[in-house]
Structure formats: structure tokens, C-alpha cells
Symmetry: C2
Subunit: 251 residues, 2 copies
DNA sequence: CGCACCTTTGAATGAGATCAAAGATGGTGG
DNA sequence: CCACCATCTTTGATCTCATTCAAAGGTGCG
């Protein structure tokens, strides 16, 4: 993949941003300099834990992760599943201690970068700083969607909503061949993300399958049959397209 | 209020940011130029509605507002209550259509500013751009806290959590004299914010009052008696302090 | 004063949780 | 290659927290 004559593969952040804006070559170079090294995390391992002091931020290169908190009563809330291109650890930009734990759901590869380099990026490439803000805003809107889903919809709609979200995001990454997506999540994880118990998630998945909305092949994949119906059921809004028309000029 | 020899009163954004960082005089001036005019909204009136095309962003000067969505089944989820200093309409930086409705809970005064001026701010004062990102991140973390509260805690803990959040924020604004705070919300609004029915909110408030955690005076005010207990009950974390140590140099 | 809206309380109902136990599945080491 | 064990899925029965429905007080505004 190329833009402005530079190899986007050199920078995952560049790859992610160029999904929304056309990067100048100076910007590509700056993004490549920003990034440091690849880190590999095994399935189940923790990238950083709640109340730890993370030292760096990350971009997901491959794999699935999630961020979660564990409450006093022992139950866990998963805030979000993270896929390729997502930025992790942004909370480090506002708080010294991580408010949540980031865990690898599957084996995953992350690219690290530092707060300080990001600060330099804001100075040298204002447009990229503004774009980081736009992406964070989009993330916040997605979180608000989840809040509405969990706060005000039925168990079935909550599961539908999560499936729609993952399906849409995977498709935009080119990972949803013909309605079939990987779903490397346990029902317990789906429950922790939707505020339900694993048992009830099971019943809702069954109900969706019985109604012909999805097909489960039992190997960590599902096929979305009735996307329209699923989205309508879940009151799902696609938030993958970002309006970058207001950004300042590229340098 | 003064910083760097310039009147902070001229800019609400400057007032808000100077709660976390020391602004240079050039930054104060830039923030003052950014802002446009005051808008007054009557109690109950809508600042912008879901799926509208808002033309500007706002900073809250005074009053309470909330942002909410209405779902297909007619129920409403309130995402957040907005107080003095909060920025509204950031979603305009990522999406052309507003994902939520912003409504004035009490009479309120807002100061407007445009996306384009904000873009200029990123170019001229990178540190302020970075600070906008930090504030947005903090906002997102607060939203994640709400998600955990609604997804994984009891009705009573959800109400406690909301009260802790409002109490802490009002106190940091100097609006919580001796544990007493204004609470200009109907129980229906509290329910829509916590994912409960108004009837059940009533019971939970009563339960909190019976246990001596709060005292209700019935005139839109409550007194927090046992802040420690309330926060512990709710697993509440204070997110008002922001770590701005990573920001680039001021100009 | 009267009306609209909000709060409060009770009783019945229901969605989802909890408890329990039987299948599936898959990874590991022999 | 197979046996074993841990983990995950599935299903049933029961329980509970919050909702729903209903109706009686309050409160404040025009």
C-alpha cells in the first residue's frame, strides 16, 4: 500500500489514518518515526492492567483484544473489543493510571509509541493531531452507542448490537468474507460486554439462530444472514465513516 | 480571574483549560478569538437534535444540560449531564450528523465556536489541540465508568454512582457548599441516565435516604451525608484531575 | 384556584440471574 | 494417535430484582 510515494506498511498508524484522509509524504514519514517496536501478546495475556502505570500507547496490528474493568463485586465489564488499527492506551493522555485493563483475546501484535512522540506530532503535523481527536471522538460515540444499548434495550437486542458492531468493523477491515466473520469470543466474554450472563447470552444466540438471523458453525465463526434485521433489531448505527472535512491543511 | 496578564473571563474555554494547565498569554488570546457568541437556552429547549447537522460547537457557561438518544422502542438513554466548562458537540468533529440530542435541563448559557476556528487552533497552538484531546479522552473514560455502572451494578449502586459523579464535578466547580448540591433533575431523568424506571429511582433514593447516605430537602437540592459510603457502594472513581505532563510546549 | 407535572407507594408481572448438571470441544502429553 | 482434562456450550428449574400498572398525594406555575 502506498501514498505520497511512501510505503504505508512502514506505519500501522499511517495505514489506519489513510482509511479516512489522504496523507502527505511528510505526514507518512512522521508517523513512521512515531512508532517504535512490535510487541507480541499471547491469547489471554494482559497488555496493561487497571491502576498500572502504562509507559506507552499502542496500535493494534493484528488480533483481537478487549479493555475491561473488574468491579468490587467480582463482575467484569468489557468496554470494547479492539481490532486492527485501533489505538490502545489513549487514557494515558489524561490519567497517569490506566482506568481499565487491556487483554489479548487472541494472539495479537501491537506496535508501541510514546506520549512524548505524540506530543511532537501535534507540533509538527497539526492535522494529524486533529485527526487523533476525530478518531477519539468517534470512539466515544461508539461507546455511547453501547451505553444506550446496555441501558435501554433487551438482552437479545444487546447481543444483536454487539454482533452488528463487530460485523461492520470487520467488514471495513476486509475480514468479513460474504457475511462470515470470525468470532473468537466465549459466551462469557460476550456477556461481560453486553451486561448479561453467559447462560443468557447462549439463549439469545440460540434465539437469533432459530430465527434465521445468524448461523453458527461452532468453530469460532458465525455467518450473518439477515444483516438488515439484526441492525434494525439492535438500533445499530454504523460509525466507521469519519468526516474529516474540517481538518487543517496537511504539512 | 487572570493568567499571563489576560482576563480569563473573556473566554470560557480558557477558564476551563486553566483548571488543568497554566496558559500562556498568546494561548489565552487565541482561545478568546476562537469563541463567538453567547446563546441562551430555556429549560427544556433543544440545542441540537439527533441526526441534525449542527453548525457549531459550544462550551457551557452556566446551567445543566444533557445529551441523550431516543431508541426505536421509545425509551431514552441520557449519556451525560453537562455542567459549566463542558464542551458540547465534539461529535461534529467526526460525523456530519449529531449522534445524540443535547437538551437544556435548566436555563443555560452556551458560548459557540466553529470547527474551522478549532482547526486553526490546532495549527497555531498545538498544546491546546493536545489538551482538547486529553479532555476528550477524560470524557470517554467517564463514559466508560458509566457503562460499567449500568452494565454490572445494582440499581442502588447506579443511582449512587450518578450522585457521586455529579457531586464530585459540582464540587470541583465550587458549587457544592458543605455537601449540599443542586439536583435539578426529575426522577425520570435520573432513570434515563441510569437505565432504570422513574419508579425504581424513587425507591432507590428513598433507600439511600433511609440509610442516611443522603438527605433530600425536596427543593431540587440534596445533601450528601456519607460520601465515602456512597462512593464505595458505587465503585466510583474521581476523574476530574487530568495529567497534562505530556503536552508539548506552550506558544 | 386549578391544572400539569412530579413524587410516592402498593401489588402483580416478567426478563434475566442463579443454580445445577449434562454434552461438546480442543489442547496436551503420553 | 489417542486418552484425558480443562474449558466452553447447552439446557432445565427456580428465584429475584426491576418493571409495569395503578392510584393517591405534592408542588409550583399561570
Amino acid at each position: 500500500m502506498r501514498a505520497g510515494g511512501f510505503d504505508l506498511g512502514a506505519s500501522c498508524l499511517a495505514e489506519q489514518l489513510s482509511r479516512h484522509i489522504r496523507l502527505s509524504s511528510a505526514e507518512c514519514q512522521a508517523l513512521a518515526r512515531l512508532e517504535e517496536e512490535d510487541r507480541i501478546y499471547r491469547r489471554g495475556s494482559v497488555v496493561f492492567a487497571e491502576n498500572e502505570k502504562p509507559r506507552e500507547l499502542y496500535v493494534v496490528r493484528s488480533g483481537w483484544l478487549h479493555s475491561s474493568v473488574v468491579l468490587g463485586n467480582g463482575s467484569r465489564q468489557i468496554m470494547r473489543f479492539h481490532l486492527a488499527g485501533d489505538v490502545l492506551g489513549l487514557s494515558l493522555l489524561a490519567f497517569p493510571l490506566a482506568p481499565k485493563t487491556v487483554t489479548a483475546v487472541t494472539d495479537a501484535v501491537l506496535r508501541s509509541f510514546s506520549r512524548q512522540r505524540l506530543a511532537e506530532l501535534f507540533v509538527e503535523h497539526p492535522r494529524l493531531g486533529a485527526m487523533m481527536l476525530a478518531l477519539t471522538v468517534a470512539d466515544r460515540v461508539a461507546l455511547a452507542d453501547r451505553l444506550a444499548s446496555i441501558g435501554r434495550t433487551s438482552a437479545r437486542a444487546r447481543v444483536s448490537s454487539l454482533l452488528c458492531d463487530l460485523f461492520t468493523r470487520l467488514r471495513s477491515l476486509g475480514l468479513a468474507g460474504g457475511g462470515e466473520i470470525p468470532l473468537p469470543l466465549t459466551q462469557e466474554e460476550i456477556g461481560d460486554a453486553t451486561g448479561l450472563t453467559a447462560v443468557h447470552v447462549n439463549r439469545m444466540m440460540r434465539s437469533l439462530a432459530d430465527d434465521g438471523m445468524i448461523v453458527r458453525n461452532g468453530h469460532g465463526n458465525i455467518r450473518i444472514i439477515d444483516e438488515k434485521g439484526l441492525c434494525a433489531d439492535a438500533a445499530y448505527s454504523d460509525r466507521t465513516l469519519i468526516d474529516a472535512s474540517w481538518l487543517p491543511e496537511a504539512r
